[in-house]
Each structure stands twice: as C-alpha cells, then as structure tokens.
C-alpha cells in the first residue's frame, strides 16, 4: 500500500490551516463564549462521562448508557425472511407487520437516570418545563434571535442500526392529522429493533448538493425522548432570556441562529444568506424537533406552518411503528456449499466445487449497501499451497459501468493478445481502446461462455510478484440473467490448459 501512503503524504494543511486552528483557539479563550455541556458539568466528570460513550457505531456489544445492547440473535428464519423481501440492498424495505405476540421487545421507556441519550442543551435553550411569563397570545410564535459566535460537534451515544423508509400509509398511521407532503420520511431503529426516532425531511431539488444530497430545507425529528444534537451553537453571553411560545397550549421554543455556523456557511443554491431555525416542543410524551434552513423571512414563515401543522394534527401514535420485522444485516459465514445453495437470491448461481478443492470459506453479506455472496475454494489436502478459486456473486444492478464483451472480438479479453508484464504501466498502452475497459475483467454472457474463452483467461503469471493487482487480473465475470458472478483464481500448480478445464467443469451448463 505504498501508493496509499504516498498519496496521503501529499495532503497537508499548510500554514493557513495552522493559523486558522490557532486563531480559533485564541478566539475561544479570549471571547469567553458559552461552551457546550462541558461547562455545565465539572469538566473532568464530563470528559469521563463522554469518553465512556465513545464507541464504534458498528460494535453493538457495548452498553448504551445503562441499557445493554447485546448482539441480536440472528435467526435463520428472519434472515431468509429478510432476504426474500429484498431484491437489492438499495431497495430494502422491511414489511410493517403487527406481531405483538411474536415480537417480545422491551417497551421503550427512558429511565430517569439515563443521560446518555440526551445531551444538555446550551443555557440559552431552556428545557420544556421552563414557564415563560404570559407575554403573548397563544398561537403566535416568538422567534428568539441569536448570533452564532461558535459551534461544536458533539459525540452522541445513540445510533441507528436500521432506517426504515416510511410509506405514506405508515406515516399517516403514526401521524393521522398531519397533511403536509414531505420528501422523505423514515423511522430509525436500534439494533434491538426499538424505535429510536422518526425523521422527516424536505429536500427541494435546488438544495441538493453535489456530494451529500441530504442538505435539507426542513428536518423534523420525532421521538419518545429528546434527541441529542450533534451540533451545538455557541451564542453571545449577553443574549436575552429566550421566550417560550404557546401554540394550542403547547409550549414551543424557537431559536433563530444567524451568523457563521457550519450550516450558514454552506454554499447553497441559490446563494442567499441563510439562517437556521430550531424549534422544540413536547406533545403527549412525544418530542418534536424542527429545523429549517432558509432565508430569514421564508424560514420563519415555513417553520410557523410546520409547527402549527404538527400541533394541530394532534398526538402522534408511535406505537404503530414499534413492531417491525428488522432486516438481519451483517456478514454471515457460510459453513458448507449446501448452505450457500440454499440462499434464496444467489444459491442458484453457486458453481460446482472444483475437483480436488474444498470449501475454504464463504460469506453472505447483507447490509444497507451490500448484498452479495463470496465463496473461496482451496486445494484439498495441501494447506501450504495458496492456490484458490473464488467467486463473488451479486446483482448486476449493483455494479456500475458493466460492459459485456462481444466474444467475436478476442482482443477484448484474450490474454494471448498481450504480453504480461509485472508492471501496471503496461495498461497505459491500451488507453483509449475498448480493450482497456475489459481486459482486466471481461464480462461474458453465460450463453457465450466456452472452455476456449475460459482458457484465454487462465493465464500463467509469476508467483514472485508481491501484489497481484500490479500485474493485472486473470479474472472474468459471467452475467447470468440479472446476476453477476465474478471469478478470480490463483492456480500456480496447474498449467493453462488444465486450469481452463478445471474452471469450465465448474461452470459448464448442466442438463
């Protein structure tokens, strides 16, 4: 991986970045700005408390606050059920089934002493039981304006294992009276299948940014408890006490943040000065957090509409989203070829075990962004010989830039047309030619595959080369319907002809 090191070594912040860092530290110490929760707690206690929740979001064996989060038991039935519900990772939607008897999940109750799920708000945002003097009529939102003087990203201990996109029907079941159309709504669940929150977003097309198309105009988070925020704005110490609003008798706190936080700095399109407006309220035990980013006037009008609509819609019924069949995600080892062939999606595409080989390992991966199967066979009885044959099976729709070769043009895939160098630069000679796209991994239709074609890919290379990818690939792929099978191999003890025969025997059509 020396190329990786060489590339990373070229990344440097330079003097400009160093000055930026020092200036920020200097401003922080000199302005006496309000900090986040670490100022409320004793810094030592907060640091220990916060450090205790540092965890890998993918390691669910650790405690979340006082709740255990044991690794979920993965039942084969649930796995098969999950797999049959999904055609590809991007299209996974778990069925909403009411199975109160089958699913014995704990009730989602926030213990009073659980603080890990909740990070104290800065002092300028009081908790909902703050009672403001009756200075305004019910039904009018009071906007508390704050100048951003700094901001902090906070670590939080909650995590979402699975996000279920909600259909209109599901959303209507939970929020029967809410009638504003939103662009995306999802329910987030932890690993145990407990509902963590509902997220609803408005993503106007003109607001989608190049790399993260989730810069939203409106972001609504609804939960049974107040969700901790990742981003805390720091405002001037002399800010006036914020005033609570009352909408339909529900106390609502609205803060308008203006200035140089991370969000207003984003280059939105169209470019106009933006503010970020936060509103929090609780209604019948459900916590609502509404964020709007827009120009000042439009944002204030829009959040007013949102808040009024949410409160007017009445109490949410989150229990309708509690019972959900969770997809069983992860990497699952495959113990036998028979087990691989039982897979409802890829089992039919598993080749025969090559003669003289045995199963080395197999993995079935099923996550939000991967859905595939890998199997490797090794030479039986020769543990010190590293020869192997490997297949990687996935849906063709999950592969970008798939090019199926015309088998009549052998220059696209036949290694005998090209000298095999141990230096990757030989590929440069193919730049601009169709062969450049196909020579390392040609894709053949299953109906075009012959032993002769496989022989053209079963090339000999020197085992002295350290990194196989430096010398090109002798792999190839087979497109069988909508499924792609990628085959790679290292067969040092076989001559070219025998190698091709071995692979053909694995793949040839059976009567």
């Amino acid at each position: 991986m020396k190329e990786y090191k060489e590339y990373m070594n070229r990344i440097s912040g330079g003097a400009a970045m160093g000055n930026k860092i020092l200036n920020r530290i200097a401003e922080h110490t000199q302005k006496g700005v309000k900090r986040e929760a670490s100022d409320i707690y004793n810094p030592g206690e907060y640091d220990e408390y916060r450090d205790s929740f540092v965890q890998d979001p993918y390691d669910f064996d650790r405690d979340i606050v006082t709740r255990k989060s044991p690794r979920a038991t993965r039942r084969k039935r649930a796995l098969v059920a999950s797999l049959t519900l999904s055609a590809c990772a991007a299209g996974v939607v778990a069925a909403l089934v009411f199975l109160p008897g089958l699913l014995n999940r704990p009730a989602v109750i926030l213990p009073e002493d659980v603080v890990g799920f909740y990070v104290d708000e800065p002092e300028d945002v009081p908790v909902p039981n703050y009672v403001a003097p009756p200075m305004q009529q019910d039904g009018e939102l009071i906007f508390n304006f704050r100048e951003i003087v700094g901001y902090s990203w906070l670590e939080t201990s909650w995590n979402l294992w699975y996000t279920l996109p909600l259909t209109d029907e599901m959303f209507a079941a939970a929020f029967p009276g809410f009638n504003i159309i939103l662009d995306w709504v999802g329910a987030g669940y932890d690993e145990d299948g407990n509902l963590v929150n509902i997220m609803a977003q408005e993503i106007p097309a003109t607001w989608q940014l190049h790399y993260r198309p989730v810069n939203v105009r409106t972001n609504i988070t609804i939960s049974r408890w107040e969700m901790p925020r990742h981003l805390i704005y720091q405002v001037a110490e002399d800010s006036p006490e914020p005033q609570m609003s009352y909408i339909g008798g529900v106390p609502v706190m609205v803060i308008v943040y203006e200035g140089q936080g991370p969000v207003p700095q984003v280059d939105y399109s169209p470019p106009f000065p933006t503010v970020e407006i936060w509103a929090h309220f609780e209604m019948d035990g459900v916590h609502y957090s509404v964020q709007v980013v827009d120009d000042r006037e439009s944002g204030m009008a829009h959040i007013t509409t949102m808040i009024n609509a949410l409160i007017a819609s009445g109490p949410a019924d989150l229990s309708v989203l509690d019972a959900v069949i969770m997809p069983v995600w992860g990497d699952f080892p495959i113990a036998t070829i028979e087990e691989a062939r039982e897979d409802p999606i890829f089992g039919a595409y598993v080749p025969l075990c090559p003669e003289g080989f045995e199963l080395a390992w197999g993995t079935r991966t099923f996550t939000s962004h991967e859905n595939d199967m890998r199997i490797q066979w090794r030479l039986a009885g020769f543990p010190f010989i590293e020869d192997y044959i490997q297949v990687w099976i996935r849906k063709a729709a999950d592969v970008h830039g798939l090019i199926v070769v015309d088998v009549n043009d052998r220059s696209l895939f036949d290694w005998s047309y090209y000298p095999v160098f141990i230096d990757h630069e030989w590929l440069d000679s193919l730049e601009g030619t169709p062969a450049r796209q196909t020579i390392l991994n040609p894709v053949f239709r299953i109906e075009d595959l012959t032993e002769d074609i496989i022989r053209s890919r079963a090339y000999w290379y020197s085992p002295e080369v350290e990194f196989p990818w430096h010398i090109g690939s002798f792999a190839f792929s087979i497109l069988d319907g909508d499924t792609l099978i990628y085959m790679s191999h290292q067969l040092s003890i076989y001559e070219g002809r025998d190698r091709a025969a071995l692979l053909w025997e694995m793949l040839r059509p059976r009567d």
């Binding site: 020092l22 965890q55 390691d59």
Partner: protein, 160 residues
Amino acid sequence: MKPSNRPVEWNEVENAVSRHMDRLLRTAVAILGCLAEAEDIVQETFLRLYEHKPQFTSQGHETAWLIRVTVNLCKSRLKSHWWSKSAPLLDIYPAKNDFEHNLMETVLSLPHKYRAVIHLYYYEGYSTYEIADITAQTEAAVRQQLSRGRQKIKDALATI
C-alpha cells in the same frame, strides 16, 4: 483521563499543531473523504486538546490521544445530516497516475469503518491491538475489517 488545571503555554499549543496537524488531517480525510469536513474536525480536535489539557506520558501517547479524538469526531460527523459542500478529494489532490487514482477512488468508496482501520494500519502503522483501542472496538472486529477492506480493494482494482 482527567484534565489537569495546569495553565497551557501558548507555545505548547503551537508545537502540538505543528507536530500533529497534518497527521490528523490525513486521518480525518481518510475517514470522511471530504477535505472541508476534515479541516473542521482537526480544528475541533485541537480545541479539545487545549480545553482538556491532558498530561501525556510520551509523544506516542499524545499522538494516540489526538487520533482517537479525531476518529470519534469523525464518527459523530458521519451521523450528522449537515455536511459542507466540497470538491472531490481527488480534484484537490490529484493522483500522480492511473493506478494511484484508482486505488484512492477505491479506498474512498469503502465503508467508513474499513477506511479508518486501513488508514490507521497502513499509514499510521498501528497494530490491530492499538487500532482496537483507538476506535473502541474489539481486536477481532479490527482484523475482520482490515481483511475485508483489503479484499474489497483487491477485488475492485481487479475489475478496473
């Protein structure tokens, strides 16, 4: 680690920035794949160094602490909806040849958890045991992520 109440000399801050800024930037870039966000993370990391004033037993201890904070801040940022607009990393720091470009493109397309361990292993030279401590997970998980990350890179480069 309990923060101390000792005053921090400004030159200590400058020295720390000078020693560690680029390393932390590379770590954050490796995980996030975005230079603007990574710069933010690095600023925040040094701010925490200044605020908490930890006492380190060695240079290695200081480095590991800073990297650990950087990794944790990256994890939090990944959970957030709010991201800065930024040019692709490979546009800002172009690769010097096709292979390097393909390699970096492949690495940057890996899941974040794989990128973190790959960077800490291959660039920083940490052992899996040390990476487990930095990323707060088991050593077995680190080994698995490393193995799978390598395999994914190998497979992806073979298809290019």
